[in-house]
Subunit: 493 residues, 2 copies
Amino acid sequence: MTEKTSTGKKILYIFLFFATVIVVFILGLLAASIFERRGESVARLEPVRDIAEWEPRNEIWGENYPRQYETYRKTLDTGFRSKYAGSATIDYLEDYPDLVVLWAGYLFSRDFKQARGHAYAIKDIRQTLRTGGVEFSPQPGTCWSCKSTDVPRLIQSMGAEAFYKSKWSDLGEQVVNPIGCQDCHEPKTMDLRITRPALIEALERQGKKMSNITHQEMRSLVCAQCHVEYYFKGPDKYLTFPWDKGFSADSMESYYNDIGFKDWEHKLSKAPMLKAQHPDYELYMTGIHATRGVACADCHMPYKVVGGVKFTDHHIQSPLNNIANSCQVCHRQSETQLLKDVYERQDRVAEIRKIAEYSLRKAHLEAELAWKNGASEEEMKPILELLRSAQWRWDWVAAANSVGFHSPVEALRVLGTAIERSEKARGLLNIVFTKKGVTLPVTLPDVGTKLIAQKYIGLDLEKILQDKLNFIQNVVPEWDKKAKSRQGSLQEY
Amino acid sequence: MTEKTSTGKKILYIFLFFATVIVVFILGLLAASIFERRGESVARLEPVRDIAEWEPRNEIWGENYPRQYETYRKTLDTGFRSKYAGSATIDYLEDYPDLVVLWAGYLFSRDFKQARGHAYAIKDIRQTLRTGGVEFSPQPGTCWSCKSTDVPRLIQSMGAEAFYKSKWSDLGEQVVNPIGCQDCHEPKTMDLRITRPALIEALERQGKKMSNITHQEMRSLVCAQCHVEYYFKGPDKYLTFPWDKGFSADSMESYYNDIGFKDWEHKLSKAPMLKAQHPDYELYMTGIHATRGVACADCHMPYKVVGGVKFTDHHIQSPLNNIANSCQVCHRQSETQLLKDVYERQDRVAEIRKIAEYSLRKAHLEAELAWKNGASEEEMKPILELLRSAQWRWDWVAAANSVGFHSPVEALRVLGTAIERSEKARGLLNIVFTKKGVTLPVTLPDVGTKLIAQKYIGLDLEKILQDKLNFIQNVVPEWDKKAKSRQGSLQEY
């Protein structure tokens, strides 16, 4: 060996030594980052306190699960991107005064607004005119069922029957925490669970075994505790889902007909009406997303990553507000294109829904006129049955969220049959008119705005609002005071 | 070095030598296979003969493009998998006798069958009762437009105007080769081209530059030469697409109303009717496949690989017959699931279509009864306008292939408006009846089968069939004989 090669080798060894040092240092940094992120996620998943079995306060759960709670609190944000929702306090009766006529004699004709986020559930049920005021308080306990994490607790302690048949206002100081953690989660394991008996009872009547339900099904079923069609059964107002014959508009109508149920008698037409609630789950079940195994939570509560932690976004909202994390997980189109695709479906559903609404409004007013001109019970019976069926079918689509997007083809099928039945009723009404010597076409009253329509159907809005104000100013603060002293704290939303 | 290591190295070298020989041999085999496959594909793409500019004979083109021609010939296979198509000679008038009433006074009430494959185009247009016989030959040359590769040749030589205004029967010996190669391809380059002036004229009136059309658009537009809504304009029966205001049912209806066009006056109701042809392209353009850039050919003529050659399958057919190569190129679901998905849409469209059909049949018969009871022109005018609009909208969906699948949401929207209008017409008819003292509900004639319905609308089927038989036995053989002597050969299908 020469001096030269020996020096060369020394330089090489020194170089290798320092290169190794640098590489090892960088690896150390990377490892630290990984440990940190892992630590971050583990730290936050370790509960900081025990949660009692029926704890209703979301903020207590939130101490253990700050990310879920923080995103849940974003349901207080009421801005919607969808052109069909816009701001979440849209007054539908203002926008569609036909609805006042369609619901004449029913509390929906007083007040019907675009729903706000879950965190507003208590505030909004207290404020809606449908729950009345101090003098007029028409609702049973059943009406609280979907509004609060206090409900599972009360059902546990009182029993479901006693809970439902209470007076709504008698439970006011007990039901103060809005829809939240307790409604869907088991407090020890955070497993999803069904806390509302009505869903379990309905599924069991269908022959479904609760123990066979998968986690992915649960990610829709926890929503189906409330986002469904239901009715208050019997004098005890027992909350019941009319699913025994199936989910479809046709099956549920047939169920109601078989038991001779009506929600109310229409004030103008005297038809024995059905009010659809919000059969979101049922409509969704007929659509392509359900067929492909996509759960409610996949679009309305998509996964989110913050720091090192992946978790479910509890800001439950329209996927149109969050296309990147919902739609685009599966669909590779641009946001603009996907929004356009949704609107193309919704626009068509809205067009046909409007035709059905228009036809139903005319039909109710014409039926009222027929009665006034001496139509007999016998003459009116087939007309009123058609009206009941038509409006139920219209409402099955109209009352469901999403403007039919959850299943546009089924929505349009059902609306098609609504138009058929409503127009058939009008055809029969023409027969009655000509028999009674009423000149055709008949002249119908102008009900072109919410106020005029409400006055026409006999509502004294001033009195109703005064009673509500009295309730908000004098009753609600008492409820909150008692609730705070009972549970030790009360979060304001 | 020892003897031992030297022997070891020798063995290693010998092993490496033979291993190399084997590997090189295998590579040689692979290369040969690749060259062979490439050669196979190139050999078949080299034309074996020149094809004259307006060559109508598919079998001549087939000599150069045997794969395409062989698959084209499979359009002779008339079995469909779809439950809505089944065998391709379904007699729709037998299955839906309401159609006889809906088309009373129009040739469709004589004969309307499920279409067969392209290769049957000549055979079937000669056989349908809509082209008449020897004594009664009602059609103009326009009626050949979509049936034959002879059409571009004749339009080239005669001019479009002269071609359209000829008598259909006068062109019989000239138009003998069924829909095929010439209709969509340029014979030198095989580029797609539009050979029918009506499509080019319609697109140009819409302001579309033909030079800007992409290849992918052409893969739908060659189909849109025929699978569209069209009418025979003016006394010269100039083939025209009513697209000037847009593609939708609403836009085309508005176009027809503006020019005061009617296809015929309804024999029973006297309504000024429109007959939708098969607006497949227009309906498809409103659907998700068009939105996503999927062309007609992607589903109806998917790519196929035989030997080393990838080519377009010219067995044009329902994708339901070939789900693996059409749907499953994009959709990862099973065949069973995809078929179920298609039927779920089609079943709903069929249900609502049936409601519209039923309503329209009643409306026409009731309008006839109103006339018989002395209804005036003035009383009937709004009724007949509603009937025209309703039936057009029903037909826009019903006449299009795919039972609405090309765009189920739009199909159901349009059918919803058809029901609305037809039922409104019936409501007005009830007014007329009661004015005229007709007891309601009115009694309508039984038209429950094709034969009874055809008799009711005054068709003498025996005479019509006898005339057709005379035509098939005496005229058609003459046409074929002359065609054979003119073009040198005539392929039978």
